[in-house]
């Protein structure tokens, strides 16, 4: 019994980090109706940045947040401004912005393979003060790095909720996502909102990258499994919904760890995809999705 509780809690810890990457994806989709396929690659960029920061300076791993998060914010901001915006503008009135989706896939390919070219294919592990440390709670053991990661995720989730609900900028973001034209008529500059939201989405990846590096391998295609899980999570939680993304992440995390108690780890991966397809059949709008969004 205690083993199951332990694995459920471990699932929640890891799942909240999945949720964090999914939050970035869902923010961008909610406002621009574009699925950013390069999301995992941006996480990878963040992980390499955090890895090199930690390895070269030897500081506390969580200090990397101060450097990596702004770095990825501007990375996303300018990626949207320079590459995505002109393509997005051209098909603004098309119902299905396919060109933008495929361009983000192109960015994914360029980033992943550039990393492969520059850093090589080997798996790297950052040696930090929290790496490999376990915490005992009532005869159950949890990795310290995952607990800190889940804690940071929780704080960020609360902040994002406050930001979207109460801040002036957050209100502008929500207005744009509800009705582009009406928001423009109210004096909200769309292109600026898009840049900021893209930057924020990528900054979420930056936070996730920093909390992952102390206990996860860093390699050029590390983004791919996270990317695909993030896709599953956002559909599960409802494309465009922030609480849905975090809850979806936790559900996926629990399926993964509890499933591993009964079957080989490769089968749990399968279970996630099957679960995803079932959700699409039964409730395509996801747990928190708005009907209008699909």
């Amino acid at each position: 019994m205690i083993g199951y509780i332990e694995s459920v809690i471990n699932g929640i810890l890891m799942g909240s980090i999945y949720g964090l990457t999914a939050v970035g994806l869902t923010l961008i989709f909610g406002v621009m109706k574009v699925v950013n396929f390069a999301h995992g690659s941006i996480l990878m960029v963040g992980m390499f940045a955090a890895y090199w920061f930690i390895t070269l300076t030897g500081f506390n791993p969580y200090l990397a947040l101060v450097v990596v998060v702004p770095l990825l914010y501007f990375f996303g901001y300018y990626m949207q401004k320079i590459i995505i915006k002109p393509i997005f503008e051209a098909e603004k009135h098309v119902r299905e912005p396919i060109t933008v989706i495929i361009v983000t896939t192109g960015i994914w390919y360029v980033l992943d393979n550039l990393a492969l070219l520059v850093f090589g294919a080997e798996f790297r592990v950052a040696q930090t003060s929290v790496t490999g440390k376990m915490v005992e709670v009532a005869e159950m053991y949890f990795p310290l790095a995952k607990m800190i990661g889940a804690g940071i995720t929780l704080l960020l989730g609360i902040y994002l909720y406050w930001f979207l609900k109460h801040s002036r900028m957050g209100k502008a973001v929500r207005a744009t996502s509800l009705d582009r034209e009406a928001a423009t008529l109210m004096g909200i500059k769309q292109s600026r909102i898009y840049n900021i939201v893209f930057g924020m989405g990528c900054a979420c990846c930056g936070v996730a990258a920093c909390v992952l590096v102390p206990f996860y391998y860093v390699y050029p295609t590390v983004g791919v499994p996270f990317d695909i899980k993030a896709f599953v999570i956002v559909v599960l939680g409802g494309l465009g919904s922030v609480p849905g993304a975090i809850l979806g992440g936790i559900i996926i995390g629990i399926i993964e760890t509890v499933g591993a108690q009964f079957m080989a780890a490769t089968w749990t991966e399968m279970l996630i995809y099957a679960f995803f397809l079932v959700v699409l059949f039964v409730k395509p709008s996801g747990l928190f999705g708005l009907r209008q969004d699909y």
Binding site: I87, V110, M270
Partner: protein, 337 residues
């Protein structure tokens, strides 16, 4: 030949000329390496043209077509290895299996926004790959999980779909490509084609006119998956050894989509143009640079894609056909004069 009446004579002559050159090519090119490059170009042009039925005409973005390549390859090869059924029959069986799976995926997702469909196809393809990697035995079939399938070499045999020379493969895939292009031509001028075009651009308006858009999208999906699986069987017989990552991986799905978009989706010649531009980049960098610069061709693919989408969002087939038309008009004028 009424359907050809609105095609200019110069166009017909040009098309016939290109076909004649391509069919005569193996007489001049004897190097197996060069032939293999051409075979792969045609194969990707074929797969992309099949993709085009749903990705182009139905106006959605499928990103998991390697799943159907894999279904075709696995179905025909397993039937051949277990019951010694000729891959030519297995090819059709694979097509039917793939079409059935395509309908299953399309049914819930084609009604939704395009992003859902793109995500669902990726999840399906990856899920299927993981599934195949975990299955050693399925009833009487030896699937062999991640080790993949090996087709025994039996020498030249049409029944077994095996040839020692590359030339028969060249002619088979070229003919398959020509047939699928003819099918695309008819499809574009058929009721289904017009319904799809209307449904892709203005689904609400099309529905209001009484067109069941999702029904026609499903038909397109089934055709597309069927044709893609035939390409999968061809690939299996060409390489004779494949495993889940090589045939159902995301890379192949993306390459198909990249070729379609760079060439020009929902056009007949776009996939062919895209394959002729992109495939050689992959092959040549692999031959000349080998492993020294891994992934370089994928960086080039990505950059070409971003640049083309930025300046020619409808694909490169548009400027190319514009130049060709100017050329044709000049020839036509000279002929008349």
């Amino acid at each position: 030949m009424k359907f050809l009446s609105n095609v200019q004579t110069t166009h017909k002559v040009f098309a016939a000329l290109v076909l004649a050159v391509l069919y005569a090519l193996p007489i001049f090119i004897t190097s197996p390496v060069m032939l293999q490059i051409f075979i792969l170009i045609f194969l990707y042009a074929y797969l992309t043209s099949s993709w085009n039925f749903v990705g182009g005409f139905a106006g959605v973005l499928p990103l998991g077509h390697s799943a159907f390549v894999g279904l075709g390859a696995y179905t025909s090869t397993l039937l051949y290895l277990t019951y010694n059924i000729s891959p030519w029959i297995g090819m059709i069986a694979g097509g039917i299996v793939a079409a059935a799976f395509g309908l299953l995926i399309g049914l819930p997702t084609l009604k939704l926004r395009g992003a859902y469909f793109a995500l669902a196809t990726i999840a399906f393809a990856e899920g299927l790959r993981v599934l195949v990697e975990n299955v050693e035995k399925l009833g009487p079939f030896e699937v062999r999980g991640p080790k993949g399938l090996l087709i025994n070499l039996v020498g030249n045999s049409f029944k077994d779909f095996q040839f020692l020379s590359k030339v028969p493969y060249y002619y088979i895939i070229l003919t398959m490509l020509v047939l699928v292009l003819i099918l695309t031509f008819f499809m574009m001028r058929s009721k289904v084609g017009y319904y799809l075009a209307a449904g892709g651009e203005e689904p609400e308006a099309a529905e209001a006119l009484g067109i069941k858009v999702s029904k026609y999208k499903l038909i397109a999906m089934a055709i597309s998956c069927f044709l893609t699986a035939l390409g999968g069987t061809f690939y299996a017989q060409l390489v004779l050894y494949f495993y889940p990552k090589s045939i159902m991986g995301l890379d192949m799905s993306y390459e198909i989509a990249f070729i379609a978009l760079i060439g020009g989706r929902s056009t007949i010649m776009g996939p062919v143009l895209g394959a002729f531009l992109l495939r050689p980049v992959g092959e040549l960098t692999r031959i000349y640079l080998g492993d020294t610069l891994p992934g370089l061709h994928l960086i080039i693919f990505g950059l070409v894609l971003i640049i083309v989408m930025r300046y020619q969002p409808r694909g490169l087939v548009e400027p190319v056909s514009r130049w060709l038309n100017i050329l044709f008009d000049r020839i036509e004028k000279r002929r008349r004069a």
